[in-house]
Symmetry: C5
Subunit: 367 residues, 5 copies
């Protein structure tokens, strides 16, 4: 389960929101092992699940040290590693798994673009796992690297907590499909959970955007635009994780490595799902743009209303004030002033003028 | 026929408008049977029509139970199933039709992206059937899944009522083309009805958008923008159903499965039609954008008019009020006040000033 | 020649402007013969021109009836049919030409998307012929269907009058190139006339748009925006006819059917021309968008001017009015009132204040 | 060199700016010889340069008449023809060069879309040569048609003066590379000069656009928008010449006709250059759009400033005027009027009020 | 390291920002050696590093003269040349390296579009190295040309200082990977440093853009728009360098020249990195557009506030002033004036009126 306690750790990223900070750690030379991320100084921990249709064994949360070893077996193993910032641990893992130095660099640079690479005898995925920080209303991203060797699948995560608990539960059940299938099915399960993760993030955003709708029809205030922009930025961020992931899945399906060849239907389905998510994100981007238009249009309407109000008021009072001013002049001979009902006539004139103005404005539909 | 009584049932979706709600039911594991939709707790019902050029038999609205059976025959059968939310019924159907667990998941997840898949010995389509809720002025969508086995075509719908009555009528007529053709022609007929469904929805929208035109030339009020945005959202929603459907048809035509190989002209025609619909939707999107521009431009014009009016009025009355104010001062020696025709001169000055102002504004075309 | 008397007939379309009305006549079943258009109840009339390099014979305006016959000959024939709404006539033609029921449906549905199809032994084009209604300033569209059998070319039009008179004139001249060439050259001539038709419509629009330019630099009034939007809509409509036609030509060139194989240079040239038209329409769309920007910018400038004017005026008169007001108060001891030249000083102060204000505004470049 | 005296001749085009006028001269029939352009009634003139590595001969400005002849030689010839409007001359040239009637039509229709065609035994280019009319600040375009036969290259221009003087100078120099190379190098030189022509036009526009930048930061007036729109239109016009030319070059490189096969590096370089120009034009289009945004934003800011100014002023004077008005009333018992220092207090109140207002506005940062 | 002292030299470019000035130096003829850039009159200097796994020798900053020689060896050499403006030096280098005249022209024209070309026996890259001028907040660009012969890699730079120091440091270390690898690894290292250079520039821009965010939420002033436009222009400029570079890398990967065939993983990684940078730039462009929208929306809100303020104030004071005006008239018989508590009543009316207005505005939420 996605643990909210680690959100604050991931939350440290500020500039890193769209691009993880590299200024201090710009790779001196390709292949050198440098961690690029949020200075999370945690040692790598290992979970290992081994299973056959008959039995399943799990070893949890051991630290990586010199004795760490992964003997090759006929059983399917899923090794999950939490924490990629500790260079010493990563060096050990690099040797144990016999990893290419570029691969290890991609794992440790948590700003890698989502991608898929098939190497000589393994498959490599670099993807993003997303969390939604409810409080600050923004998306946090954690890098998930996946390597597949013959019967072993290794996942690398940045911090504790992930979206794979349903898989673990299934692995524990004796009759589950996953226990009786090959490693290709495990790969699919993991990628499928990830797409579901994208869907649930998208749904949070979607609800936020659709709630905005009502706010826009009611009296929207100045914070609406901020919220709209914030939604749009989250959608842009989502696209940034999903689009390359979709490309990676496409490439995987085209290459059809032996591991997945028996599960093509599953992977095609996966691709169709991520495409759906991608298109829905694009649609919400368009919707957000429309909402901005609505808001701007609302503001214009409102300005129109205010100005009309001011105009109507000014135009009614200006002539009246003038008339009052005229009879306030001190000319010696102002015949009207000495009429018997002068003051009455004056009021009659005033009220007639006001009435006329109001009539005109009513006709002009300004009132 | 599309029955309006079910509209309210489909109308429950709110967030689900663009993305059906999955939060509660996020697929625990791929392949598990979970209904994702609007909690319509109806058991599945079956209609079955079997026909040869000579005779046609139909069985209607039986419930799905353990005795449900579909013996394979030489005749062409069209089995229509209403309701995909009841897990028990769906399990029975899964077994009877020997369906892949991914297919059944796609059928039961009513938010699946429209698609076409050719499996080992059957064809699978997931498409959308649309309804227009006149009252709330919005589009409702129902998922239609189609599976084709040798001589049997199965359709899965969410609620009662569909757009296929013309086909049923044709099937009842002895000399109709459909009775004398193979299953490929039935597939075409069903897809063709669906495209006609899109066309009729599009026409409703088109009329609404074109009616707006007149409203825009007359005095548009503040609700116009809302209506425009609502039209645009409906068009976006339409695109979301039509674009992937068009892709699916394209894929079908490229793959040319044996079932349809004799009817390629029909399917090419179908593809041309859906392309036409798709392009027309895009065109209406552009038109709606232009209408928004017109409206904004109208609002700007109006603001200009109001401000001009206020300005003209203020500028005429300000000097007059000043003049009146001057002769209202209590200076001891104001020679003008004691002139014989002072008050008359005063009026002459006032009227001249006003006339001059009006003349200037007329020349500036502000009046 | 394009006869203006039929414009009113075509002009009936309102909703049909972008999408011909189908609500009443939604194809009950594919292949059924239903006319979809503007209820023009005219029987079909036939013109037939037969020619060899040596001689040319023409038969004009005969009605379609049971005796209508088209014996196959070695000569090249061009049969032109006016009116596609009469189901009886169309049935006869369907049988005489042995037409596919989909083709006849495409001919009778006057809202078909422009396309090209090569069938077993004939070529089929569905295209649009455009007219410009000068009075209402909008484009009217008529469907032109073309079928080519071995030596016979058949054209179907909705109403009398077309753009092919130059071809007819050429056919009448003994030494003309067209008389000595095969049917491919006739196809080219007809398509070429159509592209010229698009060019002349485009030129009318282009002139209208360029005339707008001057209007925009002069004092544009509120109708300008309407005109701009109307131009844009016409351009969108033009694109809707031209883009699919261009696709159709592309497809024709790629397929290279035997009929046109000797005339590829002509068809490549045709494609280059229609591409040119298409790009020019796109360019004019961009220009119209720029004109809208200009207009909006003009309106903003104007609002700025008005507000500046109001501000300057108000700001000059407000202090003066205040001063006048102050010396209109009835305090017992206002020393200034009793000065000998109090009133003179008052005027001096007033004029100085006004002068100062004007000076400040001049410096601020507000005047 | 581009001669400014002919600018006025080309300058006649008004509607023709983006689309050369064809209304009067709409091609009656394909292949017929009709000049479509600016009614420049000049007879065609011929320049001919023949060269080998050893010698070079030139014949200049002879008129085209019946005696005009082009014997085929081993030497490389460059024949340049000025003026394509005279039908008689063009007929002679058509026969001498044995030109296809479509080619001659393309040469004489000066609104042809830039293109490349490889015919049986020659290559044909239709391109645009641009001039910049400094005075009216707009781009004029002249059509350049190029035909290559074995050892002969023919160029057709509309008016005297071109951009090929550097080539002529090189041809006159005995040791120049061009003299020792095949005709492919001559083709390259001519196209290269044309691309350089585009670059220099682009630079003129670029400078104009970058000069605008400063204007925008200073107090921009109402003419700025016009200038921006005019720049954008010029860029659109440039694109209209460059994009199809780029496509033509691409096609040339893909076809690799024998004439240019030894010079592929040169042509690849050419393509890279024209791509660079094309991308730079697109970039400037984006920049111009940004400048429009800046200008609109400036206008908005300015409106804000004006309104703030008006508001501040009104809000300060309105209460003061009211106070003065109150003490101008003629009530019998207004105690303040009879206070000893009433008038002084009055002034104190007035100044306090004014000071308070100013303080509030300062705090609100409105002043 | 990027030396800030040379910034001023590069800073001379003004028009050249997006397109280096060529007006004076327009290539007279292809292949001729002309320097196109910022008139930096510096002679070319040479650094040469030669290395094997065992030893490394370097010769630094010698001038190019007739004695300059590059004997071919088995060792890998990296020759770095600073300064490409001196025609004499460049002529020597052209001869020593036996360079194609087009290549030398591309090197000396510092406005060449980034590209990759594989020639007979060498590879050629033209790329951009970027610097950020902190003071003027703009990007400066320096051309980097790379040529690879068998065992020799030559780089050409415009001015001293580059981004390759990490490579030099690695070359000096005996056990470094680079020392034990072939020339392909050196190519990769250089391109990798370049991409890192783009990343660091992007990060500077990214921080500037994200800092803007806060400014936008606070009270943004008129300079914000300028800054936003300036950021956008920098992003456009970045795209202009990165997009063609990405294309060049793509082409390199597709061609797989022998030199790099053993290092495909490295180059694929490189391509993935530059794609990431490219997409991030595009994303920041979208973000900047959103920021502009925010700013404009803020300005509109502000205008609304100001107008509302003015309206509220005017509407409260206009009636009060009128009332005061009425009782300032000099009619003989105004009964109110002679009431005992007339003045008191007057005040009560005034305050009631004011209170009523305020109440209405509070209800309308205008206050």
């Amino acid at each position: 389960m996605l643990d909210s306690s680690v959100i604050t750790k991931l939350g440290v990223k500020t500039v890193a929101r769209f691009y993880k900070k590299r200024t201090e750690t710009l790779r001196k030379h390709p292949g050198e092992m440098v961690y690029i991320g949020n200075n999370l100084k945690n040692e790598s921990k290992i979970d290992k699940i081994t299973y056959t249709p008959e039995k399943m064994t799990g070893r949890i949360h051991s630290l990586v040290d010199e004795t760490t070893n992964f003997p090759e077996t006929e059983e399917i193993s899923w090794i999950n590693i939490e924490g990629v910032s500790d260079v010493k641990s990563m060096k050990i893992l690099k040797n144990r798994f016999n990893l290419n130095s570029l691969i290890i660099a991609d794992i440790m640079n948590t700003g890698t673009r989502p991608k898929y690479q098939s190497l000589e005898n393994n498959l490599f995925f670099s993807l993003k796992m997303l969390r939604y920080d409810q409080e600050k209303e923004r998306i946090l991203s954690e890098q998930l690297s996946i390597i597949v060797f013959k019967n072993t699948l290794v996942t690398f995560q940045e911090v504790p907590g992930d979206v794979f608990d349903p898989i673990r539960e299934n692995l524990m059940m004796k009759d589950s499909k996953i226990r009786s299938e090959k490693i290709g099915y495990l790969i699919h399960s993991i990628l499928d959970c990830l797409v579901d993760n994208y869907i649930s993030i998208l749904q949070l955003l979607a609800e936020r955007i659709e709630d905005m709708e009502e706010l826009l029809l009611d009296h929207p205030d100045e914070t609406v635009m901020e919220k709209l922009i914030s939604s749009k930025k989250d959608l842009l961020y989502l696209v940034k994780s999903i689009r390359p992931a979709r490309e990676a899945f496409k490439q995987l399906i085209n290459e059809k490595p032996t591991e997945i060849r028996n599960y093509m239907h599953y992977f095609n389905d996966l691709f169709s799902n991520i495409t759906h998510v991608y298109e829905t994100v694009e649609l919400y981007k368009e919707l957000t743009t429309e909402q901005m238009n609505t808001y701007n249009s609302y503001m214009n309407n409102r300005l129109n209303d205010i100005m009309r109000f001011l105009t109507v008021f000014s135009v009614i009072f200006l002539p009246l004030t003038l008339v009052a001013g005229i009879y306030g002049t001190n000319f010696e001979f102002i015949p009207e002033l000495h009429l018997r009902f002068g003051y009455l006539y004056f009021w009659i004139i005033m009220l007639t003028l006001a009435g006329l103005m109001i009539y005109i404005f009513k006709k002009k539909k300004w009132m």
